[in-house]
């Protein structure tokens, strides 16, 4: 049997492993005097936003106790290391659900707040932070504060999307949403251009709660883009389906020396995936199968081999919906860099309370790139600059290489946020985007 004493983020890039310290009770947050710390959840961030500069991270996994669940009003309080799949397993049979979920259920609720995650229903429900009632924040000066919209509200806003830098969240309270069926009505259809996609999502977002598109990056050619648009909404009430346990069918990818991901395999996968799904199909699908398809394959990140991979996620504003997007897609297509998991989604207008919240009204683009060293980093940074030029921004939770300029341009509120950082907490990401190391390093 293997024992992994070090943790790493999901992208598994070289040099991103850290030792672990653990916390067992909310009363015992072990701040260190000598070096800065950072809370670590399930390690589903892709880059170094979840890593300390060098020292051990503070693993919150044992802080997974449920504290209070009001089955009449849907108020739910739990410790920050509680995992989404565990929470859903216990609240869904009681007729409640978490209003915003990301692409995997293997995240902690603390991580959901720290990254202010969003899901396929952003245009309806906003981000996770929109549904957080309050939380307890512990700081290195020994203070313990309950933060909410009415109490310690500035710290509340700084902590949502605050990447764990304002303090350690010990417990939090969410406002759940009633749910009457676990089954979603899903429709899928193909599209052939960017404009097609924009039109489809504008129409669908009115009546469908969950919308997103998958597409083939390499198919991009001057506005033409091959993809599949998916829309879903809860089916008719079916309370029996709520008792259905989450699927536990899982296959695990072993450690692989090289990558099974290559330009050929990507092209092959994209061609097969598109052909199999392009007919206009309607289906009734369990919520977890629709939202967390990759969870069926544990450790799918190992497919990228020992060098790991980069994730690219950006948002373009309403004012410049497709021009910047077209440029970025053109860049990737011309470099021959395909991607397995290329997705597009429209963000809605619901504002999050978080200072560093990523979603803004417009479109978001997500791609993955296997790590081929400096050329990959350069390509991504080139694309980042294009995004900024067109008024967009980059998502820290996915990033492993954004420069200080890109970060500050993405989040003008960073100055206000920086006032709230806890000096006892620090991430490798923050050091990079604040240029706190070598001034001469110049973002290299």
């Amino acid at each position: 049997m293997t024992f992994d004493t070090r943790v790493h983020p999901w992208g598994r890039l070289p040099g991103m492993q850290r030792a672990v310290r653990r916390i067992w009770w909310p009363s015992d947050v072990p701040f260190e005097r000598d070096h800065a710390m950072l809370a670590f959840g399930q390690g589903r961030s892709y880059g170094d936003t979840c890593l300390t500069p060098t020292g051990p991270v503070l693993c919150m996994g044992a802080l997974d106790r449920f504290i209070m669940f009001d089955r009449d009003t849907g108020r739910f309080r739990c410790e920050c290391g509680s995992r989404l799949d565990d929470v859903l397993k216990h609240i869904v049979p009681a007729g409640w659900t978490v209003p915003v979920v990301p692409g995997t259920q293997f995240i902690t609720v603390g991580g959901a707040v720290a990254n202010d995650i969003h899901g396929k229903n952003h245009h309806r429900e906003g981000t996770f932070g929109n549904h957080v009632e309050c939380f307890e924040l512990v700081r290195s000066d020994g203070s313990r504060r309950v933060c909410s919209r009415s109490e310690n509200s500035e710290l509340f806003a700084a902590t949502i999307g605050g990447l764990g830098l304002t303090g350690i969240i010990t417990w939090l309270e969410i406002r759940l949403r009633p749910i009457e069926t676990w089954l979603l009505d899903v429709e899928t259809q193909s599209f052939a251009s960017l404009d097609d996609f924009v039109r489809l999502t504008h129409e669908a977002d009115k009546d469908w709660e969950y919308t997103a598109a998958w597409f083939d990056v390499l198919s991009y050619r001057e506005g033409r883009l091959k993809g599949l648009f998916s829309k879903a909404r809860p089916g008719e009430p079916d309370h029996d389906s709520l008792r259905r346990p989450l699927s536990s069918h899982r296959f695990s990818v072993p450690h692989l020396p090289g990558a099974l991901v290559s330009p050929t395999s990507i092209q092959l996968f994209n061609a097969i995936y598109y052909r199999r799904n392009k007919r206009r199909t309607a289906a009734r699908v369990p919520f977890d199968a629709y939202h967390f398809p990759l969870d069926a394959v544990l450790n799918w990140n190992r497919l990228y081999g020992r060098r790991g991979f980069f994730q690219f996620q950006c948002a373009f504003p309403e004012a410049d919906l497709t021009r910047g997007l077209a440029k970025v897609l053109g860049l990737f297509a011309s470099m021959g860099e395909g991607s397995f998991l290329a997705t597009l989604k429209r963000f809605g207008r619901i504002a999050s309370p978080g200072l560093l919240s990523f979603p803004q009204p417009g479109l978001t683009l997500t791609l993955d790139f296997r790590n081929r060293g400096v050329r990959t980093v350069q390509l991504i940074r080139q694309a980042y600059s294009m995004v900024i030029e067109h008024g967009g921004r980059i998502y820290p939770a996915k990033d492993a290489c954004m420069t200080s300029e890109i970060f500050r341009a993405s989040f003008p509120a960073w100055r206000n946020f920086a006032k709230w950082r806890d000096p006892g907490l620090l991430s490798a990401f923050w050091i990079r985007v604040m240029n706190q190391q070598d001034e001469s390093a110049n973002g290299a």
Binding site: F3, W24, F66, I67, M68, H90
Partner: protein, 247 residues
């Protein structure tokens, strides 16, 4: 499938992991015993939300004079009992003990021997009277053979093992089964200072093995099972060899 479960040391990593295993099945009721009422409340609230039918807590310390009466009446009030787990323990710093910290020595013996035997005897009385049930005592592989690095702890766990075997002899005639669990080291507050080694485990994994062993009426469980072979070999090694291994 046991439904009425008593856990001594319920706030320990293993104690609470075992309780979690049972609450996941239907209809479990718990009596949780521990020294910190605040932590017991946390564990109890968590179990309740996860679907426990009933959770009672008892804040008691084996050092107190009222411990026997408090535990006896709590057990009586919780009857009939299916399983009693005794999971508390303390892993002391060997260096501190060798430096002469005898307060730590007293605490080590209190946690690993005194409180385990008190709870064990009280539970045995109750289970013997109801002529039914299972008693589970958490020992350690450290008790199988003394090692340079933790022989005081090992000695205490060795005492626990002999105690469990004695109880087994006593209770066999009363239709009460005794399971002695010998886990290898696993992630817990107690092992925070240790570097994980081979066969290192997690509380949930050990708890899983314990629950299965109860169903199968095993007498001694090594968790994970590889430890059975490891300690068997260790016990056969001549002292001279053991000395050189610097364990």
């Amino acid at each position: 499938m046991p439904k009425r479960i008593v856990v001594f040391g319920a706030t320990s990593a293993l104690g609470s992991a075992i309780a979690r295993k049972y609450v996941a099945k239907d209809d479990a009721s718990f009596l949780l015993v521990g020294r910190s009422s605040e932590r017991l409340r946390s564990v109890a609230a968590d179990l309740q939300i996860r679907g426990a039918t009933q959770v009672q807590t008892l804040t008691a310390s084996s050092g107190g004079n009222d411990y026997p009466t408090a535990v006896h009446s709590a057990l009586a009030g919780f009857a009939p009992i299916d399983v009693v787990f005794i999971t508390q323990g303390l892993l002391p710093s060997q260096e501190q003990l060798e430096a002469g910290d005898f307060e730590l020595l007293r605490e080590t013996i209190e946690a690993n021997i005194q409180s385990v035997m008190q709870a064990g005897l009280l539970a045995a009385n109750t289970l013997e009277a109801q002529r039914n049930g299972v008693l589970v005592i958490i020992g350690s592989v450290a008790g199988d053979r003394a090692r340079r690095s933790n022989y005081v702890y090992g000695a205490a766990k060795s005492a626990t093992a002999a105690f469990a075997e004695g109880l087994r002899l006593r209770l066999a005639g009363a239709n009460v089964h005794v399971l002695l669990v010998k886990p290898g080291p696993f992630t817990s507050p107690m092992t925070a200072g240790l570097r994980p080694g081979p066969f290192w485990s997690e509380p949930a994994e050990v708890a899983d093995l314990v629950v299965k062993a109860i169903d199968k009426r095993v007498a001694t469980l090594y968790a994970p099972s590889a430890w059975r072979i490891v300690t068997a070999v260790l016990r056969l090694l001549p002292a001279a060899v053991l000395r050189r291994l610097a364990l």
